[in-house]
Protein backbone atom coordinates (compact mmCIF):
# COMPACT_ATOMS: atom_id res chain seq x y z
CA UNK A 1 0.00 0.00 0.00
CA UNK A 2 1.39 3.44 -0.92
CA UNK A 3 1.69 6.21 1.65
CA UNK A 4 -1.22 8.01 0.03
CA UNK A 5 -3.53 4.98 0.26
CA UNK A 6 -2.44 4.38 3.85
CA UNK A 7 -3.16 8.02 4.68
CA UNK A 8 -6.64 7.76 3.11
CA UNK A 9 -7.30 4.67 5.24
CA UNK A 10 -6.04 6.69 8.22
CA UNK A 11 -8.56 9.44 7.41
CA UNK A 12 -11.26 6.75 7.27
CA UNK A 13 -10.40 5.73 10.84
CA UNK A 14 -9.78 9.24 12.18
CA UNK A 15 -13.16 10.44 10.90
CA UNK A 16 -15.03 7.72 12.82
CA UNK A 17 -17.24 9.56 15.36
CA UNK A 18 -15.57 8.04 18.43
CA UNK A 19 -12.01 8.75 17.21
CA UNK A 20 -13.07 12.23 16.15
CA UNK A 21 -14.50 12.80 19.62
CA UNK A 22 -11.16 11.83 21.24
CA UNK A 23 -9.36 14.15 18.81
CA UNK A 24 -11.69 16.97 19.76
CA UNK A 25 -11.18 16.27 23.49
CA UNK A 26 -7.40 16.27 22.92
CA UNK A 27 -7.48 19.59 21.04
CA UNK A 28 -9.68 21.17 23.71
CA UNK A 29 -7.58 19.89 26.63
CA UNK A 30 -4.37 20.76 24.75
CA UNK A 31 -5.48 24.35 24.14
CA UNK A 32 -6.54 24.58 27.78
CA UNK A 33 -3.16 23.41 29.09
CA UNK A 34 -1.38 25.59 26.57
CA UNK A 35 -3.32 28.60 27.81
CA UNK A 36 -2.84 27.88 31.52
CA UNK A 37 0.61 28.82 32.73
CA UNK A 38 2.42 26.04 34.59
CA UNK A 39 0.97 23.06 32.70
CA UNK A 40 2.50 21.80 29.50
CA UNK A 41 1.68 19.00 27.06
CA UNK A 42 4.31 16.67 28.59
CA UNK A 43 2.70 16.91 32.01
CA UNK A 44 -0.83 16.52 30.64
CA UNK A 45 0.01 13.45 28.60
CA UNK A 46 1.90 11.99 31.57
CA UNK A 47 -1.15 12.52 33.77
CA UNK A 48 -3.42 10.87 31.26
CA UNK A 49 -1.20 7.79 30.91
CA UNK A 50 -3.16 5.87 33.57
CA UNK A 51 -6.08 6.01 31.15
CA UNK A 52 -4.11 3.94 28.66
CA UNK A 53 -5.45 0.87 30.42
CA UNK A 54 -9.02 1.86 29.66
CA UNK A 55 -9.06 3.38 26.17
CA UNK A 56 -8.03 1.77 22.83
CA UNK A 57 -4.55 2.75 21.63
CA UNK A 58 -5.73 4.56 18.47
CA UNK A 59 -8.16 6.80 20.37
CA UNK A 60 -5.58 7.55 23.03
CA UNK A 61 -2.84 8.53 20.58
CA UNK A 62 -5.26 10.66 18.57
CA UNK A 63 -6.08 12.47 21.83
CA UNK A 64 -2.38 12.83 22.71
CA UNK A 65 -1.67 14.30 19.27
CA UNK A 66 -4.51 16.78 19.82
CA UNK A 67 -3.06 17.75 23.19
CA UNK A 68 0.39 18.17 21.68
CA UNK A 69 -0.75 20.41 18.82
CA UNK A 70 -3.36 22.16 20.98
CA UNK A 71 -0.78 23.18 23.58
CA UNK A 72 1.32 24.84 20.88
CA UNK A 73 -1.79 26.77 19.73
CA UNK A 74 -2.91 27.68 23.27
CA UNK A 75 0.53 28.92 24.32
CA UNK A 76 0.20 31.85 21.92
CA UNK A 77 -2.94 33.13 23.69
CA UNK A 78 -1.11 33.33 27.04
CA UNK A 79 1.92 34.92 25.42
CA UNK A 80 -0.14 37.59 23.68
CA UNK A 81 -2.58 38.39 26.47
CA UNK A 82 -0.43 38.18 29.62
CA UNK A 83 3.09 38.16 28.17
CA UNK A 84 3.87 34.90 29.96
CA UNK A 85 5.43 32.49 27.50
CA UNK A 86 4.74 28.99 28.80
CA UNK A 87 7.80 27.74 26.90
CA UNK A 88 10.94 29.34 25.52
CA UNK A 89 9.59 28.83 21.99
CA UNK A 90 6.75 31.31 22.69
CA UNK A 91 9.11 34.06 23.82
CA UNK A 92 9.06 35.98 20.53
CA UNK A 93 5.26 35.76 20.35
CA UNK A 94 5.12 37.22 23.86
CA UNK A 95 7.46 40.02 22.86
CA UNK A 96 5.62 41.25 19.76
CA UNK A 97 2.13 39.86 20.43
CA UNK A 98 1.77 41.53 23.81
CA UNK A 99 2.92 44.84 22.33
CA UNK A 100 0.24 44.45 19.62
CA UNK A 101 -2.34 43.75 22.36
CA UNK A 102 -1.28 46.88 24.23
CA UNK A 103 -1.83 48.87 21.02
CA UNK A 104 -5.40 47.54 20.79
CA UNK A 105 -4.57 44.86 18.19
CA UNK A 106 -4.90 41.73 20.36
CA UNK A 107 -7.53 40.31 17.98
CA UNK A 108 -5.23 40.52 14.96
CA UNK A 109 -2.29 39.11 16.95
CA UNK A 110 -4.40 36.11 18.02
CA UNK A 111 -5.71 35.69 14.46
CA UNK A 112 -2.30 35.70 12.76
CA UNK A 113 -0.99 33.29 15.43
CA UNK A 114 -3.92 30.89 14.97
CA UNK A 115 -3.98 30.98 11.16
CA UNK A 116 -0.18 30.76 11.01
CA UNK A 117 -0.27 27.78 13.37
CA UNK A 118 -2.85 26.13 11.09
CA UNK A 119 -0.85 26.77 7.92
CA UNK A 120 2.47 25.66 9.44
CA UNK A 121 0.95 22.73 11.29
CA UNK A 122 -0.55 21.51 8.00
CA UNK A 123 2.74 21.99 6.11
CA UNK A 124 4.58 20.16 8.91
CA UNK A 125 2.08 17.30 8.83
CA UNK A 126 2.38 17.09 5.02
CA UNK A 127 6.16 16.85 5.36
CA UNK A 128 5.76 14.17 8.04
CA UNK A 129 3.43 12.23 5.73
CA UNK A 130 5.81 12.16 2.81
CA UNK A 131 9.22 12.06 4.50
CA UNK A 132 8.46 9.61 7.32
CA UNK A 133 8.20 6.53 5.03
CA UNK A 134 11.60 7.48 3.49
CA UNK A 135 13.23 7.69 6.91
CA UNK A 136 11.65 4.36 7.86
CA UNK A 137 13.05 2.75 4.71
CA UNK A 138 16.55 4.03 5.51
CA UNK A 139 16.23 3.05 9.16
CA UNK A 140 15.29 -0.53 8.34
CA UNK A 141 18.98 -1.03 7.56
CA UNK A 142 19.80 -0.16 11.19
CA UNK A 143 21.16 -2.91 13.41
CA UNK A 144 21.61 -2.77 17.21
CA UNK A 145 24.99 -1.00 16.79
CA UNK A 146 23.43 1.81 14.72
CA UNK A 147 20.55 2.10 17.17
CA UNK A 148 22.94 2.41 20.08
CA UNK A 149 24.92 5.10 18.24
CA UNK A 150 21.73 6.94 17.27
CA UNK A 151 20.57 6.96 20.89
CA UNK A 152 23.99 8.23 22.00
CA UNK A 153 23.69 11.01 19.41
CA UNK A 154 20.18 11.89 20.56
CA UNK A 155 20.98 12.09 24.27
CA UNK A 156 24.19 14.01 23.66
CA UNK A 157 22.38 16.42 21.36
CA UNK A 158 19.47 16.99 23.76
CA UNK A 159 21.84 17.51 26.71
CA UNK A 160 24.75 19.35 25.17
CA UNK A 161 23.03 21.66 22.71
CA UNK A 162 19.80 22.59 24.51
CA UNK A 163 19.78 24.53 27.78
CA UNK A 164 22.19 27.16 29.02
CA UNK A 165 25.05 24.94 30.14
CA UNK A 166 26.45 21.75 28.66
CA UNK A 167 27.74 20.66 32.08
CA UNK A 168 24.34 20.98 33.74
CA UNK A 169 22.66 19.32 30.74
CA UNK A 170 25.02 16.35 30.94
CA UNK A 171 24.51 16.05 34.72
CA UNK A 172 20.72 15.98 34.18
CA UNK A 173 21.19 13.34 31.49
CA UNK A 174 23.43 11.18 33.72
CA UNK A 175 21.02 11.38 36.66
CA UNK A 176 18.18 10.45 34.28
CA UNK A 177 20.18 7.48 32.96
CA UNK A 178 20.90 6.37 36.51
CA UNK A 179 17.19 6.49 37.34
CA UNK A 180 16.41 4.60 34.12
CA UNK A 181 18.70 1.74 35.18
CA UNK A 182 16.90 1.19 38.51
CA UNK A 183 15.15 -2.18 38.69
CA UNK A 184 15.61 -5.70 37.36
CA UNK A 185 18.15 -6.11 34.53
CA UNK A 186 16.05 -7.65 31.77
CA UNK A 187 18.84 -9.87 30.41
CA UNK A 188 20.15 -11.40 33.63
CA UNK A 189 17.35 -10.79 36.12
CA UNK A 190 19.73 -9.12 38.60
CA UNK A 191 18.39 -6.20 40.68
CA UNK A 192 20.20 -2.87 40.25
CA UNK A 193 20.04 0.28 42.43
CA UNK A 194 17.05 -1.12 44.33
CA UNK A 195 18.41 -0.85 47.91
CA UNK A 196 16.68 -4.17 48.55
CA UNK A 197 13.26 -2.54 48.12
CA UNK A 198 10.67 -4.64 46.27
CA UNK A 199 8.86 -1.45 45.20
CA UNK A 200 11.89 -0.48 43.07
CA UNK A 201 12.25 -3.82 41.24
CA UNK A 202 9.99 -2.65 38.39
CA UNK A 203 12.01 0.54 38.02
CA UNK A 204 10.94 4.18 38.15
CA UNK A 205 7.71 5.00 36.29
CA UNK A 206 8.34 7.71 33.70
CA UNK A 207 4.98 9.23 34.61
CA UNK A 208 5.99 9.68 38.25
CA UNK A 209 9.30 11.34 37.35
CA UNK A 210 7.80 13.58 34.64
CA UNK A 211 4.78 14.70 36.67
CA UNK A 212 6.95 15.23 39.75
CA UNK A 213 9.50 17.35 37.93
CA UNK A 214 7.10 19.32 35.74
CA UNK A 215 4.05 19.78 37.99
CA UNK A 216 5.17 19.48 41.61
CA UNK A 217 8.62 20.94 40.88
CA UNK A 218 7.14 23.97 39.09
CA UNK A 219 4.57 24.53 41.87
CA UNK A 220 7.30 24.29 44.53
CA UNK A 221 9.46 26.76 42.63
CA UNK A 222 6.64 29.27 42.20
CA UNK A 223 5.59 28.83 45.85
CA UNK A 224 9.20 29.41 46.91
CA UNK A 225 9.28 32.63 44.87
CA UNK A 226 5.97 33.81 46.33
CA UNK A 227 5.24 36.06 43.37
CA UNK A 228 2.27 34.14 41.93
CA UNK A 229 -0.38 34.70 44.57
CA UNK A 230 -2.54 36.91 42.33
CA UNK A 231 -3.57 36.38 38.70
CA UNK A 232 -1.53 38.56 36.31
CA UNK A 233 -2.83 41.40 34.19
CA UNK A 234 -4.80 39.96 31.26
CA UNK A 235 -5.06 42.19 28.21
CA UNK A 236 -8.55 42.72 26.78
CA UNK A 237 -9.20 41.19 23.36
CA UNK A 238 -9.93 44.54 21.80
CA UNK A 239 -10.51 45.11 18.11
CA UNK A 240 -11.77 42.70 15.49
CA UNK A 241 -10.43 39.17 15.11
CA UNK A 242 -10.46 39.79 11.35
CA UNK A 243 -7.13 40.67 9.82
CA UNK A 244 -6.98 43.56 7.38
CA UNK A 245 -5.67 43.20 3.81
CA UNK A 246 -2.36 44.65 4.96
CA UNK A 247 -2.17 42.19 7.89
CA UNK A 248 -2.68 39.28 5.47
CA UNK A 249 -0.05 40.65 3.12
CA UNK A 250 2.46 40.99 5.96
CA UNK A 251 1.65 37.59 7.49
CA UNK A 252 1.43 34.96 4.75
CA UNK A 253 5.08 34.93 3.73
CA UNK A 254 6.12 34.85 7.39
CA UNK A 255 3.88 31.80 7.95
CA UNK A 256 5.52 29.89 5.11
CA UNK A 257 9.06 30.90 6.05
CA UNK A 258 8.36 29.95 9.67
CA UNK A 259 7.07 26.54 8.58
CA UNK A 260 10.16 25.90 6.49
CA UNK A 261 12.41 26.71 9.46
CA UNK A 262 10.28 24.79 11.95
CA UNK A 263 9.83 21.35 10.43
CA UNK A 264 13.42 20.39 9.50
CA UNK A 265 14.93 21.84 12.66
CA UNK A 266 12.22 20.25 14.83
CA UNK A 267 12.94 16.87 13.21
CA UNK A 268 16.64 16.99 14.14
CA UNK A 269 17.76 15.23 17.34
CA UNK A 270 18.51 18.51 19.13
CA UNK A 271 16.38 20.81 17.00
CA UNK A 272 13.56 21.72 19.34
CA UNK A 273 11.28 24.69 18.75
CA UNK A 274 13.38 27.50 20.27
CA UNK A 275 15.93 27.77 17.47
CA UNK A 276 13.44 27.93 14.55
CA UNK A 277 11.29 30.53 16.33
CA UNK A 278 14.35 32.71 16.96
CA UNK A 279 15.56 32.27 13.37
CA UNK A 280 12.12 33.07 12.04
CA UNK A 281 11.86 36.21 14.18
CA UNK A 282 15.21 37.61 13.08
CA UNK A 283 14.57 36.68 9.43
CA UNK A 284 11.25 38.53 9.50
CA UNK A 285 12.91 41.52 11.16
CA UNK A 286 15.54 41.58 8.43
CA UNK A 287 13.10 41.15 5.54
CA UNK A 288 10.31 43.40 6.85
CA UNK A 289 9.44 46.69 5.17
CA UNK A 290 8.65 47.97 8.67
CA UNK A 291 11.68 46.96 10.77
CA UNK A 292 11.06 49.94 13.07
CA UNK A 293 7.87 48.23 14.31
CA UNK A 294 9.79 45.26 15.72
CA UNK A 295 9.85 45.47 19.49
CA UNK A 296 6.69 47.63 19.35
CA UNK A 297 4.21 45.09 17.96
CA UNK A 298 5.06 43.95 14.40
CA UNK A 299 2.60 41.39 13.06
CA UNK A 300 5.34 39.47 11.19
CA UNK A 301 7.08 38.99 14.56
CA UNK A 302 4.05 37.00 15.73
CA UNK A 303 3.19 35.25 12.45
CA UNK A 304 6.64 33.79 11.70
CA UNK A 305 7.65 32.46 15.15
CA UNK A 306 4.17 30.99 15.80
CA UNK A 307 4.30 29.17 12.46
CA UNK A 308 7.82 27.93 13.20
CA UNK A 309 6.72 26.70 16.64
CA UNK A 310 3.85 24.61 15.23
CA UNK A 311 5.84 23.20 12.33
CA UNK A 312 8.55 22.18 14.81
CA UNK A 313 5.88 20.30 16.80
CA UNK A 314 5.20 18.20 13.68
CA UNK A 315 8.95 17.80 13.14
CA UNK A 316 9.47 16.34 16.63
CA UNK A 317 7.03 13.53 15.73
CA UNK A 318 9.29 12.42 12.85
CA UNK A 319 12.13 10.78 14.88
CA UNK A 320 9.57 9.51 17.39
CA UNK A 321 7.40 7.69 14.86
CA UNK A 322 10.12 6.57 12.45
CA UNK A 323 13.02 5.72 14.79
CA UNK A 324 11.42 5.50 18.23
CA UNK A 325 13.73 8.31 19.40
CA UNK A 326 12.22 11.06 21.57
CA UNK A 327 13.81 14.48 21.14
CA UNK A 328 11.67 16.40 23.61
CA UNK A 329 10.06 15.71 26.98
CA UNK A 330 6.60 15.41 25.38
CA UNK A 331 7.88 12.94 22.79
CA UNK A 332 9.55 10.96 25.60
CA UNK A 333 6.23 10.69 27.44
CA UNK A 334 4.47 9.63 24.21
CA UNK A 335 7.13 6.96 23.72
CA UNK A 336 6.41 5.69 27.21
CA UNK A 337 2.69 5.56 26.29
CA UNK A 338 3.59 3.32 23.32
CA UNK A 339 5.47 1.09 25.75
CA UNK A 340 2.44 1.10 28.06
CA UNK A 341 0.41 -0.46 25.24
CA UNK A 342 3.17 -2.98 24.56
CA UNK A 343 3.77 -1.40 21.13
CA UNK A 344 7.33 -1.75 19.84
CA UNK A 345 8.49 1.62 18.49
CA UNK A 346 11.09 2.15 15.77
CA UNK A 347 10.97 1.68 12.00
CA UNK A 348 8.88 -1.48 12.36
CA UNK A 349 6.08 0.63 13.88
CA UNK A 350 4.86 1.61 10.40
CA UNK A 351 4.63 -2.05 9.41
CA UNK A 352 3.31 -3.56 12.64
CA UNK A 353 0.96 -0.71 13.64
CA UNK A 354 0.39 0.94 10.24
CA UNK A 355 -3.27 1.60 10.91
CA UNK A 356 -2.50 3.36 14.22
CA UNK A 357 0.31 5.47 12.77
CA UNK A 358 -1.63 6.62 9.70
CA UNK A 359 -4.75 7.32 11.78
CA UNK A 360 -2.54 9.40 14.07
CA UNK A 361 -1.08 11.33 11.11
CA UNK A 362 -4.55 11.84 9.59
CA UNK A 363 -5.79 13.07 12.96
CA UNK A 364 -3.05 15.73 12.92
CA UNK A 365 -4.60 17.24 9.76
CA UNK A 366 -8.06 17.09 11.31
CA UNK A 367 -6.72 18.42 14.63
CA UNK A 368 -5.33 21.48 12.87
CA UNK A 369 -8.78 22.30 11.50
CA UNK A 370 -10.43 21.67 14.90
CA UNK A 371 -7.87 23.93 16.58
CA UNK A 372 -8.43 26.75 14.10
CA UNK A 373 -12.16 26.51 14.77
CA UNK A 374 -11.68 26.19 18.55
CA UNK A 375 -9.13 28.90 19.09
CA UNK A 376 -10.58 32.10 17.76
CA UNK A 377 -14.29 31.80 18.61
CA UNK A 378 -13.51 30.49 22.10
CA UNK A 379 -10.94 33.16 22.90
CA UNK A 380 -13.30 34.63 25.52
CA UNK A 381 -13.27 31.31 27.40
CA UNK A 382 -9.47 31.11 27.30
CA UNK A 383 -9.24 34.66 28.65
CA UNK A 384 -11.49 33.66 31.59
CA UNK A 385 -9.20 30.71 32.32
CA UNK A 386 -6.27 33.08 32.61
CA UNK A 387 -8.09 34.82 35.46
CA UNK A 388 -8.21 31.73 37.72
CA UNK A 389 -6.39 32.75 40.93
CA UNK A 390 -3.07 30.83 41.26
CA UNK A 391 -3.87 29.19 44.66
CA UNK A 392 -6.83 27.29 43.14
CA UNK A 393 -5.07 26.70 39.83
CA UNK A 394 -2.05 25.06 41.48
CA UNK A 395 -4.22 23.22 44.04
CA UNK A 396 -6.03 21.69 41.04
CA UNK A 397 -2.76 20.85 39.26
CA UNK A 398 -1.24 19.11 42.29
CA UNK A 399 -4.42 17.23 43.23
CA UNK A 400 -4.85 15.96 39.66
CA UNK A 401 -1.14 15.04 39.53
CA UNK A 402 -1.40 13.11 42.77
CA UNK A 403 -4.61 11.44 41.59
CA UNK A 404 -2.99 10.48 38.26
CA UNK A 405 0.07 8.93 39.93
CA UNK A 406 -1.91 7.20 42.68
CA UNK A 407 -4.49 5.94 40.18
CA UNK A 408 -1.83 4.27 38.01
CA UNK A 409 -1.07 1.59 40.63
CA UNK A 410 -2.65 2.55 43.97
CA UNK A 411 0.88 2.99 45.29
CA UNK A 412 1.54 5.41 48.16
CA UNK A 413 5.25 4.78 47.53
CA UNK A 414 4.84 6.31 44.04
CA UNK A 415 3.10 9.36 45.56
CA UNK A 416 6.13 9.74 47.84
CA UNK A 417 8.39 9.47 44.80
CA UNK A 418 6.24 12.10 43.06
CA UNK A 419 7.01 14.62 45.80
CA UNK A 420 10.66 13.55 45.88
CA UNK A 421 10.87 14.28 42.14
CA UNK A 422 9.03 17.52 42.84
CA UNK A 423 11.82 18.61 45.19
CA UNK A 424 14.33 17.57 42.56
CA UNK A 425 12.43 19.58 39.93
CA UNK A 426 12.44 22.60 42.25
CA UNK A 427 16.22 22.36 42.72
CA UNK A 428 16.72 21.84 38.97
CA UNK A 429 14.60 24.88 38.16
CA UNK A 430 16.34 27.02 40.77
CA UNK A 431 19.86 26.00 39.74
CA UNK A 432 19.07 25.96 36.00
CA UNK A 433 19.38 22.24 35.21
CA UNK A 434 17.28 21.38 32.13
CA UNK A 435 14.52 18.80 32.68
CA UNK A 436 14.29 17.34 29.15
CA UNK A 437 17.68 15.51 29.26
CA UNK A 438 16.69 13.86 32.54
CA UNK A 439 13.43 12.51 31.11
CA UNK A 440 15.06 11.51 27.80
CA UNK A 441 17.93 9.83 29.71
CA UNK A 442 15.46 7.99 31.94
CA UNK A 443 13.72 6.50 28.90
CA UNK A 444 16.65 6.02 26.54
CA UNK A 445 19.29 4.65 28.95
CA UNK A 446 17.74 1.17 29.32
CA UNK A 447 16.97 1.08 25.57
CA UNK A 448 20.52 2.11 24.67
CA UNK A 449 21.96 -0.47 27.06
CA UNK A 450 19.79 -3.16 25.48
CA UNK A 451 20.96 -2.21 21.96
CA UNK A 452 24.58 -2.05 23.06
CA UNK A 453 24.46 -5.50 24.60
CA UNK A 454 22.71 -6.95 21.53
CA UNK A 455 25.33 -5.37 19.26
CA UNK A 456 28.15 -6.80 21.39
CA UNK A 457 26.53 -10.24 21.43
CA UNK A 458 26.35 -10.17 17.61
CA UNK A 459 29.96 -8.96 17.33
CA UNK A 460 31.08 -11.58 19.89
CA UNK A 461 32.22 -8.93 22.33
CA UNK A 462 34.13 -6.85 19.78
CA UNK A 463 33.71 -3.19 20.83
CA UNK A 464 35.04 -1.91 17.49
CA UNK A 465 31.67 -2.81 15.95
CA UNK A 466 30.44 0.68 16.88
CA UNK A 467 33.16 2.40 14.87
CA UNK A 468 33.77 -0.06 12.03
CA UNK A 469 30.17 -0.02 10.76
CA UNK A 470 30.07 3.18 8.66
CA UNK A 471 26.64 4.42 9.72
CA UNK A 472 27.28 3.76 13.40
CA UNK A 473 30.70 5.41 13.19
CA UNK A 474 29.19 8.51 11.53
CA UNK A 475 26.57 8.84 14.26
CA UNK A 476 29.18 8.44 17.02
CA UNK A 477 31.38 10.97 15.21
CA UNK A 478 28.57 13.55 15.08
CA UNK A 479 27.85 12.98 18.79
CA UNK A 480 31.53 13.54 19.60
CA UNK A 481 31.56 16.73 17.52
CA UNK A 482 28.48 18.00 19.34
CA UNK A 483 30.29 17.49 22.62
CA UNK A 484 33.60 19.03 21.58
CA UNK A 485 32.81 21.82 19.07
CA UNK A 486 30.57 24.04 21.26
CA UNK A 487 33.20 23.91 24.05
CA UNK A 488 35.99 24.82 21.61
CA UNK A 489 33.94 27.64 20.12
CA UNK A 490 33.18 29.01 23.57
CA UNK A 491 36.86 28.86 24.47
CA UNK A 492 37.79 30.70 21.26
CA UNK A 493 35.18 33.40 21.86
CA UNK A 494 36.43 33.95 25.42
CA UNK A 495 40.04 34.48 24.31
CA UNK A 496 40.97 38.12 24.83
CA UNK A 497 41.64 39.89 21.57
CA UNK A 498 45.26 40.81 21.01
Amino acid sequence: MSSFDALLAGFGNALQPVTLMWGFVGCFVGTLVGVLPGIGPALTIALLLPLTYHVPATSMFVMFAGIYYGAAYGGSTTSILIKTPGEASSMMTALEGNKMARRGRAGQALATAAIGSFVAGTIGTLALTFFAPMVVEAALAFGPAEYFSLMVLSVVAVSAVLGNSMLRGLIALTVGALLGLIGIDLQTGQPRFTFGQAALLDGIEVTVAAVGIFAVGEALYLAWQGRESKAGEVMKVSGSLWMSKSDWARSWKAWFRGAFYGFPIGAMPAGGAELPTLLSYYTEKKLSKHPEEFGHGAIEGVAGPEAANNAAAAGVLMPLLTLGIPTSATAAIMLSAFEGYGIQTGPQLFASQGSLVWTLIASLYIGNVILLILNLPLVGLWVKLLKIPPPWLYAGIIVISTAGVYGAGNSVFNVGLLFFFGLMGYAMRRFDFPAAPLIVGLILAPMAEQSMRQALTISMGDWSTFVTRPLSASLIGIAALLLVVPALLRKRNHKPSA
Binding site: H54, I171, A223, V399, N410
Partner: protein, 154 residues
Protein backbone atom coordinates in the same frame (compact mmCIF):
# COMPACT_ATOMS: atom_id res chain seq x y z
CA UNK B 1 20.85 26.48 49.46
CA UNK B 2 23.72 27.31 47.09
CA UNK B 3 25.29 25.62 44.04
CA UNK B 4 27.98 24.21 46.36
CA UNK B 5 25.24 22.32 48.24
CA UNK B 6 24.04 20.89 44.93
CA UNK B 7 27.62 19.75 44.28
CA UNK B 8 27.63 17.98 47.67
CA UNK B 9 24.27 16.37 46.88
CA UNK B 10 25.66 15.14 43.55
CA UNK B 11 28.76 13.80 45.29
CA UNK B 12 26.54 11.98 47.81
CA UNK B 13 24.46 10.56 44.97
CA UNK B 14 27.68 9.40 43.31
CA UNK B 15 28.79 7.69 46.54
CA UNK B 16 25.45 5.90 47.07
CA UNK B 17 25.24 4.88 43.41
CA UNK B 18 28.84 3.56 43.44
CA UNK B 19 27.98 1.45 46.50
CA UNK B 20 24.89 0.09 44.71
CA UNK B 21 26.98 -0.80 41.63
CA UNK B 22 29.37 -2.70 43.92
CA UNK B 23 26.52 -4.83 45.28
CA UNK B 24 25.00 -5.80 41.90
CA UNK B 25 25.22 -9.62 41.89
CA UNK B 26 27.34 -11.07 39.08
CA UNK B 27 25.31 -13.04 36.58
CA UNK B 28 26.09 -16.72 36.00
CA UNK B 29 25.05 -16.34 32.36
CA UNK B 30 27.82 -16.18 29.76
CA UNK B 31 27.55 -12.82 27.97
CA UNK B 32 29.68 -10.09 26.43
CA UNK B 33 28.47 -7.41 28.84
CA UNK B 34 27.26 -8.15 32.36
CA UNK B 35 24.62 -6.27 34.36
CA UNK B 36 27.04 -3.88 36.07
CA UNK B 37 29.09 -2.47 33.18
CA UNK B 38 26.65 0.23 32.02
CA UNK B 39 25.66 1.27 35.58
CA UNK B 40 29.36 1.54 36.44
CA UNK B 41 30.02 3.71 33.36
CA UNK B 42 27.06 5.99 34.16
CA UNK B 43 28.13 6.33 37.80
CA UNK B 44 31.72 7.09 36.76
CA UNK B 45 30.44 9.79 34.38
CA UNK B 46 28.32 11.22 37.20
CA UNK B 47 31.39 11.32 39.45
CA UNK B 48 33.42 13.26 36.89
CA UNK B 49 30.56 15.67 36.14
CA UNK B 50 29.85 16.21 39.86
CA UNK B 51 33.51 17.05 40.38
CA UNK B 52 33.50 19.53 37.48
CA UNK B 53 30.29 21.10 38.80
CA UNK B 54 31.77 21.32 42.29
CA UNK B 55 34.91 23.10 41.03
CA UNK B 56 32.79 25.46 38.95
CA UNK B 57 30.44 26.14 41.91
CA UNK B 58 33.35 26.91 44.26
CA UNK B 59 34.64 29.38 41.67
CA UNK B 60 31.20 31.04 41.70
CA UNK B 61 30.40 30.18 38.09
CA UNK B 62 27.15 28.29 38.70
CA UNK B 63 23.69 29.81 38.63
CA UNK B 64 21.33 30.34 41.57
CA UNK B 65 18.05 32.00 40.56
CA UNK B 66 17.60 33.39 44.07
CA UNK B 67 20.26 35.96 43.15
CA UNK B 68 18.36 37.17 40.08
CA UNK B 69 16.34 40.33 40.64
CA UNK B 70 13.01 39.21 39.19
CA UNK B 71 13.39 35.58 40.34
CA UNK B 72 14.43 35.95 43.97
CA UNK B 73 12.15 34.61 46.71
CA UNK B 74 9.90 36.89 48.76
CA UNK B 75 10.00 36.47 52.58
CA UNK B 76 8.36 33.28 53.91
CA UNK B 77 9.74 31.01 51.17
CA UNK B 78 10.47 28.11 53.53
CA UNK B 79 6.96 28.21 55.08
CA UNK B 80 5.38 28.19 51.62
CA UNK B 81 7.49 25.22 50.53
CA UNK B 82 6.65 23.33 53.72
CA UNK B 83 2.90 24.04 53.29
CA UNK B 84 2.95 22.47 49.86
CA UNK B 85 4.93 19.45 51.02
CA UNK B 86 2.67 19.06 54.09
CA UNK B 87 -0.27 18.71 51.69
CA UNK B 88 1.54 15.82 49.99
CA UNK B 89 2.37 14.16 53.31
CA UNK B 90 -1.28 14.47 54.43
CA UNK B 91 -2.37 12.78 51.19
CA UNK B 92 0.05 9.89 51.69
CA UNK B 93 -0.87 9.40 55.34
CA UNK B 94 -4.64 9.50 54.89
CA UNK B 95 -5.37 7.95 51.47
CA UNK B 96 -5.51 4.46 53.01
CA UNK B 97 -7.97 5.02 55.88
CA UNK B 98 -10.00 7.98 54.52
CA UNK B 99 -10.42 7.35 50.77
CA UNK B 100 -9.57 9.98 48.13
CA UNK B 101 -11.67 13.07 48.80
CA UNK B 102 -10.52 14.08 52.31
CA UNK B 103 -6.76 13.63 51.63
CA UNK B 104 -7.21 15.29 48.20
CA UNK B 105 -8.89 18.26 49.88
CA UNK B 106 -6.13 18.58 52.50
CA UNK B 107 -3.47 18.28 49.81
CA UNK B 108 -5.17 21.06 47.81
CA UNK B 109 -5.41 23.26 50.91
CA UNK B 110 -1.68 22.82 51.57
CA UNK B 111 -0.92 23.87 48.00
CA UNK B 112 -3.32 26.83 48.14
CA UNK B 113 -1.71 27.93 51.42
CA UNK B 114 1.67 27.80 49.68
CA UNK B 115 0.25 30.37 47.23
CA UNK B 116 -0.89 32.61 50.10
CA UNK B 117 -4.57 31.57 50.26
CA UNK B 118 -5.68 31.71 53.91
CA UNK B 119 -6.56 28.40 55.57
CA UNK B 120 -10.30 28.79 56.03
CA UNK B 121 -13.74 27.70 54.96
CA UNK B 122 -13.36 29.16 51.48
CA UNK B 123 -10.18 27.18 50.89
CA UNK B 124 -11.81 24.05 52.35
CA UNK B 125 -14.88 24.41 50.11
CA UNK B 126 -12.91 25.07 46.90
CA UNK B 127 -10.38 22.27 47.51
CA UNK B 128 -13.16 19.83 48.45
CA UNK B 129 -14.91 20.73 45.18
CA UNK B 130 -11.64 20.19 43.24
CA UNK B 131 -10.95 16.80 44.90
CA UNK B 132 -14.54 15.62 44.48
CA UNK B 133 -14.65 16.65 40.79
CA UNK B 134 -11.41 14.83 40.01
CA UNK B 135 -12.57 11.73 41.89
CA UNK B 136 -15.86 11.73 39.96
CA UNK B 137 -14.06 12.29 36.65
CA UNK B 138 -11.27 9.76 37.12
CA UNK B 139 -12.80 7.06 39.32
CA UNK B 140 -16.48 7.13 38.34
CA UNK B 141 -16.46 8.29 34.71
CA UNK B 142 -13.13 6.90 33.49
CA UNK B 143 -12.78 3.90 35.80
CA UNK B 144 -9.31 4.76 37.14
CA UNK B 145 -8.69 2.93 40.45
CA UNK B 146 -8.54 5.78 42.98
CA UNK B 147 -10.28 3.77 45.71
CA UNK B 148 -13.40 5.00 47.49
CA UNK B 149 -14.18 8.73 47.57
CA UNK B 150 -15.35 8.65 51.17
CA UNK B 151 -15.17 5.14 52.62
CA UNK B 152 -18.32 5.70 54.72
CA UNK B 153 -20.60 6.77 51.87
CA UNK B 154 -19.28 5.91 48.38
Amino acid sequence: MKPVHIAFALAALFGVAAWQVAVIPESLMQMAVGPSLVPAAVVAALGVLALLYGISAVRGRQVDESHAEDQSALPGARTRLLSLLAGGVAFMALIGPLGFIVPGTLCGMGVARAFDAPLGLKSLAICAAIATSFWLLFAVLLGVGLGPGLPWFF
